[in-house]
C-alpha cells in the first residue's frame, strides 16, 4: 500500500489528506454541534437537521446573488451577512417547528424521529419546488480563491482555512453559551431535571424552544460554511445526516468535547483512507469501525456519568 511512494511524498500526502480531512471535520463539527444540542441535550432525534443546514446554504446563495446584482463593490464581505441571515432563518424555522411539532413529542423520542423525517421530506420537496432540482453553487469572493503554499509539495486552499477558522470560532462561542452563560445553565438545568427546573422558576417551555432554535440556527451556519466548499441541492442535507448522528453518538451524546473528538477522528480516518482506496470503501471501513466501537462501548467516547 505504501510501496510506490518515497518518505517525503508520504509525509506530504498525509498532510494534504489530513487537511482535506480537516475541512470534512469542519462540516461534521458544525452540523454535529447543533445536533449535539438538540439530540444530546433535549433527546429529540432531529432527522430534518440536514434540511435546516441546506436552508442556511440556500440563504447564503441568495445573499450572494443579491450582493452580486445590487452591491458588487461589497461582494467581498457578503459572507458575514449571509451567515447571520442563515442563522436567523434556520433558527426561526426551528422555533416554529418546535412550537408546532416537537413540543408535543418530548415524551416519545422515537416518534420525533418519524415526525422530523416527514418534515425533512416536505422541506426537500419545498426546496425542489422553490429553488429547482439542480444544485447551485455560490461564487466565492476574490480573496477566498487560490491556495497557500506551505512547502513545495504542500498546498492548502484558502477557503478551507477560512471555514476551519470559522468552525473554531463557532465552537468556542457555543461552548461559552452552553457552559458559561446564564442561559446555558438554564438549558442544562432543564435537561437534567425538568420538573425541578420548572419549580425554581425557569420557563422550561421557552428554554426548550430557544434551545431547539439555537441548534437549528447552528445548522444554518453550517450550511453557510458548506457553500464555501461544495454545491447545494435539495437533497444534499440527507447525505450528511447519518454521518452526523454517528458523530454525535460516537462522541457521547451529551458531551461537546466528545463531539469534537469524534468528528476529528472520523473525518481524519475517512480522508486518509480515501487516498489509498476508493471513496466508497473508505467510507464503509470508517463507518464499520465506528459501529464496531459503538457495539463495544455503547456510551460513546466521552460519556457523562449520570445516575439514571
Amino acid at each position: 500500500m505504501f510501496g510506490d511512494y518515497s518518505l517525503g511524498d508520504l509525509g506530504s500526502i498525509f498532510v494534504m489528506q489530513g487537511f482535506a480531512g480537516l475541512i470534512l471535520f469542519s462540516v461534521y463539527v458544525l452540523m454535529a454541534l447543533g445536533l449535539a444540542i438538540i439530540f444530546g441535550q433535549m433527546g429529540v432525534i432531529n432527522m430534518a437537521h440536514g434540511e435546516f443546514m441546506i436552508l442556511g446554504a440556500y440563504v447564503t446563495w441568495m445573499t450572494s446573488n443579491l450582493f452580486q446584482t445590487y452591491m458588487p463593490s461589497l461582494f467581498g464581505g457578503y459572507f458575514f451577512l449571509a451567515m447571520i441571515l442563515a442563522f436567523l432563518a434556520s433558527g426561526a424555522l426551528g422555533m416554529l417547528v418546535e412550537w408546532v411539532l416537537i413540543r408535543h413529542l418530548y415524551k416519545r423520542p422515537l416518534d420525533t424521529l418519524l415526525a422530523t423525517w416527514g418534515l425533512s421530506l416536505m422541506l426537500q420537496q419545498a426546496y425542489r419546488s422553490v429553488f429547482g432540482a439542480r444544485e447551485v453553487g455560490v461564487e466565492l469572493p476574490q480573496w477566498m480563491l487560490g491556495s497557500l503554499h506551505v512547502t513545495d509539495s504542500i498546498e492548502v486552499p484558502i477557503n478551507g482555512v477560512f471555514v476551519m477558522c470559522l468552525t473554531v470560532l463557532i465552537t468556542i462561542s457555543v461552548a461559552y453559551v452552553m457552559y458559561k452563560s446564564r442561559w446555558g445553565r438554564q438549558v442544562r438545568a432543564v435537561v437534567q431535571n425538568r420538573i425541578m427546573a420548572g419549580a425554581v422558576g425557569i420557563n422550561t417551555e421557552k428554554v426548550d424552544r430557544y434551545t431547539y432554535g439555537l441548534g437549528c440556527g447552528i445548522a444554518g451556519v453550517a450550511g453557510s460554511a458548506f457553500t464555501m466548499i461544495g454545491s447545494t441541492g435539495p437533497t444534499s442535507g440527507q447525505l450528511y445526516i447519518v454521518d452526523t448522528f454517528l458523530v454525535v453518538v460516537f462522541g457521547g451524546a451529551a458531551s461537546l468535547l466528545g463531539t469534537i473528538a469524534s468528528a476529528f477522528s472520523i473525518s481524519q480516518t475517512q480522508s486518509t483512507l480515501e487516498f489509498f482506496m476508493s471513496g466508497s470503501m473508505a467510507k464503509v471501513l470508517t463507518l464499520l469501525a465506528v459501529v464496531g466501537i459503538l457495539m463495544l462501548r455503547p456510551q460513546g467516547l466521552f460519556a457523562l456519568k449520570v445516575r439514571k
Binding site: 433527546g43 432525534i45 421530506l121 464499520l288
Partner: protein, 380 residues
C-alpha cells in the same frame, strides 16, 4: 376466549376478510399488471409485519429493515441471476457463464461466495439464515449491552448506510447501483410471463398468511405478553427474572427473517433487486407503512402497506411533486394525531358501532347473522 389459541373470533373474521380480499377480490378485479403491482406492495407487507412484532410489541424501532429485505432479495436474485447466466445465454461475453455485470467489470471467475447459490436448497436456506444470523449478531451485540431506543435506531440506520455503500461500491460482485437485473427463470420455469406472475402472486399470498399465523402465534403466546411488558417497563421484567436481551433479540430476528422473505418475494415478483431497496430512505418508508396501519395491529400493517403504496403510485403518477408533501404530511399526521394508525381508528370508532348494531339486531326476533360484520370489515 382461551389464551393458547392463535386468534379470537374477531381476529379470525379479520383474517378471513383479508384472505377473501387478497385471494378472490383482487385477482378477479385487477389486470395482471396491477396484480403484479399488488404483489410488489405485499413484499413490503412482510417487512411491516415484522415491524409490528419488533416495534409495536417489542418497542424496538429498527431503521435498518431494508438491510434484511435487501439480504433476502439479493440471495434470491443471486440464484436467479446465476441461472440466467448459463454458458449458452452468455456466450458473447469474454468469460461465458458468469453474470453480465461481472464480465463488464473484468472479473473472470465466479467469486467463491457466489458458488453455493447454484443450489436452490442452499438459496432458500440462505434467505432465512443469512439475515437471521446477521440480526442475531447485531441484536446480541446491542441488546446484551442494554443499548436500546434511539441509539439502536441510529445504529441500524448506519448499518443500512454501510450496506448500501458497499453494494454500490463493489460493482463487480453485486451489480452496483443498477442491481441485479434481467432475472429470467426459476429452475427452468420462466417467471416473466403473465401466468407465472399470477402463480407467483398466489404463492406470495400463501407465504404472507404463514407469516401472519406466526405473528398471531407470537402475539397470543406468553412470549408476546413478555414483549409488551418489556416495552412498558423493561426493568420490572428484568427484575422478574426474564432475560430481556434474549426476548429482544428474538423479536428483532423474527422481524429480520420476515423482511428477508419479503425481499426474496420481491426478487421473484418484480424480477430485479437493487440497492435502492436497502438504504435508509426505503427502511424508514417501511416503518411508515406499519405506523399507518397501526403499529399494534398485525392485519393493520398489511392494509397500511397496501394503502400507502396505492397512494404513492396514484399520486406520483398524476402529481409527482405532491407525493413527497403527502408522504411527509402522513408521517407527521400519524405521529401527532393517530399514533395507533388505521387499526386505532377502526378500533375506536368503527368497531364499537358495528358491535352496537349487531347487539341491537340480535335482540330482534328475525335473527340477522354475523355476515354483516364481514361486510363492514376494513377492506380498503
Amino acid at each position: 376466549m382461551t389464551d393458547n389459541r392463535f386468534f379470537n373470533r374477531s381476529e379470525l373474521i379479520g383474517i378471513l376478510v383479508l384472505a377473501v380480499f387478497l385471494v378472490v377480490v383482487l385477482p378477479l378485479t385487477l389486470d395482471v399488471f396491477r396484480l403484479n403491482l399488488v404483489a410488489k406492495y405485499l413484499t413490503y407487507a412482510f417487512v411491516a409485519l415484522g415491524l409490528v412484532i419488533c416495534w409495536g410489541y417489542g418497542g424496538i424501532l429498527s431503521l435498518g429493515q431494508g438491510v434484511f429485505f435487501g439480504l433476502g432479495g439479493y440471495c434470491m436474485a443471486m440464484f436467479l441471476k446465476l441461472e440466467a447466466s448459463s454458458v449458452e445465454n452468455t456466450k458473447i461475453q469474454s468469460t461465458p457463464g458468469i453474470p453480465d455485470f461481472m464480465d463488464w467489470n473484468q472479473i473472470t471467475a465466479l467469486p467463491f461466495f457466489w458458488k453455493p447459490f447454484n443450489s436452490l436448497t442452499f438459496t432458500i436456506a440462505a434467505i432465512i439464515l443469512v439475515p437471521g444470523i446477521f440480526a442475531l449478531i447485531i441484536g446480541t451485540a446491542m441488546f446484551k449491552r442494554r443499548v436500546g431506543g434511539t441509539y439502536f435506531a441510529i445504529i441500524t440506520q448506519a448499518v443500512a448506510a454501510i450496506l448500501t455503500i458497499l453494494i454500490v461500491g463493489q460493482q463487480g460482485y453485486t451489480g452496483g447501483i443498477n442491481g441485479m437485473t434481467d432475472l429470467r427463470t426459476l429452475k427452468g420455469w420462466d417467471i416473466r410471463p403473465d401466468h407465472a406472475k399470477i402463480v407467483l402472486y398466489f404463492f406470495e399470498v400463501g407465504c404472507l398468511f404463514v407469516c401472519i399465523m406466526i405473528a398471531q402465534f407470537v402475539r397470543h403466546s406468553k412470549l408476546g405478553r413478555i414483549l409488551v411488558a418489556m416495552r412498558e417497563k423493561e426493568d420490572r421484567v428484568r427484575f422478574s427474572g426474564y432475560s430481556v436481551a434474549n426476548f429482544k433479540i428474538f423479536a428483532f430476528c423474527i422481524a429480520a427473517v420476515f423482511a428477508a422473505i419479503g425481499g426474496a418475494m420481491f426478487a421473484l415478483n418484480v424480477g430485479f433487486m437493487s440497492p435502492s431497496f436497502v438504504g435508509i430512505v426505503p427502511s424508514i418508508e417501511m416503518v411508515i407503512y406499519t405506523a399507518v396501519g397501526g403499529r399494534l395491529s398485525i392485519l393493520g400493517a398489511i392494509y397500511g402497506t397496501l394503502l400507502v403504496n396505492f397512494a404513492k403510485t396514484s399520486l406520483s403518477e398524476t402529481f409527482p411533486e405532491l407525493w413527497l408533501f403527502g408522504l411527509g404530511g402522513l408521517f407527521i399526521a400519524v405521529v401527532l394525531a393517530f399514533p395507533n394508525g388505521l387499526a386505532g381508528i377502526w378500533g375506536d370508532y368503527v368497531q364499537p358501532r358495528i358491535d352496537r348494531l349487531i347487539a341491537s339486531r340480535k335482540s330482534k326476533p328475525d335473527g340477522w347473522t354475523d355476515s354483516s360484520v364481514a361486510d363492514g370489515a376494513p377492506a380498503e
